[in-house]
Structures are given as C-alpha cells and as structure tokens.
Amino acid sequence: MKREPPRTLADYGPLFFPATMLTVFFVVPFGTMIAVSFFQRQQGGFYTPAFVWSNYERFLSVFFGNVLGFSLMLAITVAICCVVLALPFTYCLTRMSRRAQVLWLVGLLSVLSLSEVIIGFAWSTLFSRTAGITNLLVAIGIMDAPRALYPGFGAVLTGMVYQAFPYTVLVLFPALVRLDPTLTEAARTLGSSPLRAFFNVVVPALRNTIVATLIMVFIFALGSYLLPQILGRPQHWTLSVLITDQAIYQSNMPFAAAMAVFLVLVTLALVSLTLFIGRKGEVA
C-alpha cells in the first residue's frame, strides 16, 4: 500500500498532539531560558529584559571551564562504568529462569523509586568512618582501622553509578532478550570460549544499543546535582550544582540560564559526535 501525502489540514491531525507537547514542554521553556540568558541582572535578585553577552563572558573563565570539563568527565565515567557493569549483568539476567528475572527486575525497580537524597545519605552513611563498611572490613581483619571513604571522587562516582545502574539495565534488557541465543552458541561451536563469544559476538551485535545507552546514561548523569554535593568536596561539584547555586541561592537567573544553555549545547555537540562516529563505523 502506498501512502498518500497529507493534503488537508485534517491529514496533519495526528501530528498535533506531539507537536503541542513538544512546544509546551520543550520549545517554550528552552526559549525562555535562552531569552533569560541574555537579560541584564539587577541587584536584589531581579533581572530586566536586555540583550547582553556579559553572562556568557563571565562563564568563559578558567574556573568555569574546569567545572565544565569535570562535569563532562564525570558523566562520561559514570556512563562507561554503568554500561560495563550492566552489560554482562543483563546478559546473565536474560539467561536466568523467568522467576529469577522477575525478582531481579523488581529489585532494580525499587532502587529506581529511591530519591537522590536518600541514595546520597545512605551512601554517606555506608562510607562514613563511624558506621561505614570499613568497620566490616576491620571486623573480618582486612583493614586495621575504620576510615571515612567520603567525601571524595570515588564516593560521588559510586553513588551516581548506583543511581543510574537500574536505568541502564532496563534499557539494555529488551535488546539482550531479543538477541538470538544461537549466535553465541554458533560462536562456541566455531571454537570461541563463552567469554570470547560475549566480546566478539554479543557486544558487536549490540553496538547501536550500547551507544544509545551510553548517551542516555551520560545525559542522565550530567543532570545530577545532589549526589556531588552530598558525597563530594567542592572540587567535585558539577556544572549542575553551580547552576542550581546561581539560580536558587545567588538569585542570578540570567547567569544560571547562560550556563544551562551552554551545557545543553556542549551536550548536543558531544552526542552528535558520538552518533557520527557510530554511523561511520557502521558503513566500514
């Protein structure tokens, strides 16, 4: 059946709903933000409509450059850790019995229901000197004295990976379930050990899914602003933390908006670059 090109206004009907949603929830807020980022800040937390570049100029400093770099590095690290952990995990999960799969997925979903605040404070307790996991290690004789594992980069990373892990599994799960199990079996009959078969059959066959998951976790991690504050030192604060700080505590909306716009642009650029490289790899 050949599809007719739409002719009357009614033919465009099905487009109205998504178009409206996109306008109301994305175009309008983002447009407002771009506008605000060019406004002039007044003393006392107000701003007046104007067209000034000063908000962006202030951003172009070594300090904010470092924060931006750290934020991107952290988000990329979180994304890679999540995928590296979740891929074998999910692969094993798809090989389990139906019952075991349901139990695991329910467990993961319950982690999703925890708020960032709870996750942050739970890990800060676990990483503390007085009540943390190091006490367990001392008890079984691996360590000499309990030690605080936070604040620090490791703590931030752990908390964020913990938070993003269930999403990663849920995104990878359908693709891995659909993957033909005879592919790995074929690899095994052709002389590949199960481990090698995983790396040279499962991973390449799932390339596109893996890239999409990396991007999703990266963006998810970029927006995290509570965990770096709870589990990290000021040098571990991300751009999201600074944006929140400017917007809420310093009442500097124009500057916060400028940083947010910049973050969105950098993110879009990185994502397009990843997709571009992925596309090129496919042709080769």
Partner: protein, 345 residues
C-alpha cells in the same frame, strides 16, 4: 572404533524425558539423517553431540575418546543452526573467517581458505556483501562454509533446509550430499522431511518420543520397517490388520494368506504394504474384494483409493500400468506375499 558413538544417552528437563537411552554408532564418513515428528528430541540429541546441552546420562565417544566432559569450543565440530546464526555485524568473508580468526590462523592463510570455501559454495565475489543482503539459499551456503572452515571431524546440521522453497531445497539436498561425499566428513542432519532423509543419508535414524525406533539404510527402512510407527512415518503405506482364523491360518481382511505367518504366540499383527506393491484385478478368486472410491491422477502417478469393508486402501501405479477402473467399480486387490511386512502391533 573411529567415528561417533552415543552410549545410552538420556536427557531429562525436570521430570520430562526428552531423549531416552539412545545407543547408536556412526562410522567415520557416514551421512546420518535423524528423522522424527516434531518434539521427538532430535534437536536435543544434536545439541548434546555438540556439547551445547549436557546429557543427564550416558557418554559420547568420538574416535574412541570420551568427549562428554569437553566443552563445545574444544570439540572440533561444525554446526549449522536452524536459524543459521550468521553474525549480523560481519560480512560474508568475515563470517566464514570467524573460526579461523579465533584459532589465530595467519591473515594470508585466512584469506586463502575463505576464497577456497567461497568457491566451494559457488559464491565467489560475494565476500564483501553484508549477510543481510543475501538470499535464503546463499545464506544457507555461507553457514555451511563457516561450519566447515576448520575441516571439523563432525558436521552437524539442524533442519538446515527447512526455510527454503521446495525446488531450492531439493537442489541443496543433492549439493550437500555431494559435498559430504567429497570431503568424507561424518555428518548428522536433523530433519522432519522423510524425502530429504532418503535423498541424502547413508543411515536414517527414525526417532519418536525421545527413543530411536530404527536406524538403517534408507532402502532398509523403507522395505523392512521395524514397527508400525516407522512404516507409517516413512513414505505412505497401507497398515492392515492380520489375525488368525479358526484353523490358525493368517488372514487379512477375511482372506487367508497362505504365504504369511503370524509372529509366534500372537493372534494379531499388522501388515504394512506399500501402495505401489498392490495389484488390482477383477474381483473374486484369491483377491480381496473392494470398491473404488476415488481416483487421483497426479500426472506421474495414479492413486486409486479402494474401500474394503470399511478400511481404505491406496494403490499407486504409473500411467502406463493404469488400471482400467472407474469410481464405484468392484475390484480385486492382490497383496503379493513378498511385499507384505508383518509387524507386531
């Protein structure tokens, strides 16, 4: 003994027995077809030979060595899956080279071998194609070439031709058989198409309900089926009841059969007679009387359906020997003694 030996192999999934007490030996270089209805355990048996499933009981011997505990990737076998399982991220040449790459074969040798294999499957020049851009038959050949790349000791195929249309399937059957004979490789093919099994196999293994019912050459299976299941499953046959009359003589449909004997100690048995072995004559005399109910002219063969006191009998003849009968006519059916196979029921 050189070749493959299965010793008392059983496989249970929970309380369900998929394969029970299979004993069979396959001499080196033999082409075996495993044949049976759906769910009879053919795939399970093949997977155990490949090492993808572990037998619950029994041992598998290859050239005298017990390979039961050896993992799949060290068994040196080639397997073609029903889904073919070609790697979607690799092109034709890379798919075929995969086992060579895994074994660390040098790049130039890989290329040489791949070219050789592409030539063997008549796909020269297709090396750079993605596998998704091949036809069903071409994919089939690529899967076969990939499985044979390392010249394995054992070649296993699970319903390799079932996805192809009838014409192509027949061509591939012949091709596969010729390839096997040229390479002299021990081959086991699972199928549920009995024509396919008869075309290719040295030995046909008929399975039902997880058990082997008969393992013999195609002609033997066809001429001397071991039981009524095999007789009915291989080709078409007329299964008639044989019983003893008051004088103890064997009778079929009320006619005494002087040349046949009931198995000792049994009052009843079955007789299998192939449709092409029946003769039709005028009613009366030694023949069994019946009425022609339907005639099917298939061009190459003519099938005549005859009703004998409620039992339907089929006779097949060639157009030259076309019986001069019409529907509704009374005819006599002659069962030559030598064509009747007496089976326990």
């Amino acid at each position: 003994m050189s070749g493959l030996v299965l010793k008392d192999i059983s496989k249970r999934f929970g309380s369900f027995t998929a394969v029970s007490h299979v004993d069979i030996s396959v001499p080196h270089g033999t082409f075996v077809c495993m044949l049976g209805p759906s769910g009879c355990g053919k795939t399970t048996l093949l997977r155990m030979i490949a090492g993808l499933d572990e037998p619950s009981e029994g041992a598998i011997l290859l050239d005298g060595a017990d390979i039961t505990p050896i993992p799949t990737h060290k068994r040196n076998l080639g397997m073609v899956f029903q889904s073919l399982a070609l790697f979607p991220h690799l092109n034709v040449a890379e798919n075929i080279a995969y086992p060579l790459r895994i074994r660390g074969v040098a790049k130039e040798d890989q290329k040489k071998r791949v070219d050789e294999l592409l030539q063997m499957i008549h796909l020269q020049g297709y090396g750079e194609r993605p596998v998704s851009k091949l036809s069903g038959g071409q994919r089939q050949r690529v899967a076969i070439a990939r499985a044979l790349a390392l010249s394995p000791k054992l070649f296993l195929l699970d319903e390799p031709l079932s996805a192809l249309d009838a014409k192509l399937r027949e061509a591939m059957q012949v091709e596969l058989r010729q390839l096997q004979q040229r390479l002299g490789i021990t081959t086991i093919v699972v199928t549920h198409d009995q024509r396919e099994a008869m075309t290719m196999a040295d030995t046909v293994v008929v399975m039902n309900g997880g058990e082997i019912r008969q393992a013999a050459s195609p002609v033997d299976i066809y001429r001397n089926p071991a039981d009524t299941f095999v007789a009915d499953f291989i080709g078409s046959t007329n299964l008639l009841e044989m019983s003893a009359d008051s004088a103890g003589r064997a009778t079929i449909l009320g006619k005494p059969m002087a040349g046949l004997k009931l198995p000792t100690g049994l009052a009843k048995a079955s007789v299998s007679i192939r449709p092409e072995d029946l003769h039709l004559t005028a009613p009366g005399g030694d023949a069994i009387d019946g009425t022609v109910t339907f005639i099917r002219d298939l061009g190459g063969t003519i099938e005549t359906f005859i009703d004998v006191s409620g039992q339907s009998i089929v006779a097949v003849s060639t157009p030259r020997a076309r019986p001069e009968v019409s529907v509704g006519q009374k005819v006599g059916v002659v069962l030559p003694d030598e064509a009747c196979v007496v089976l326990k029921r």
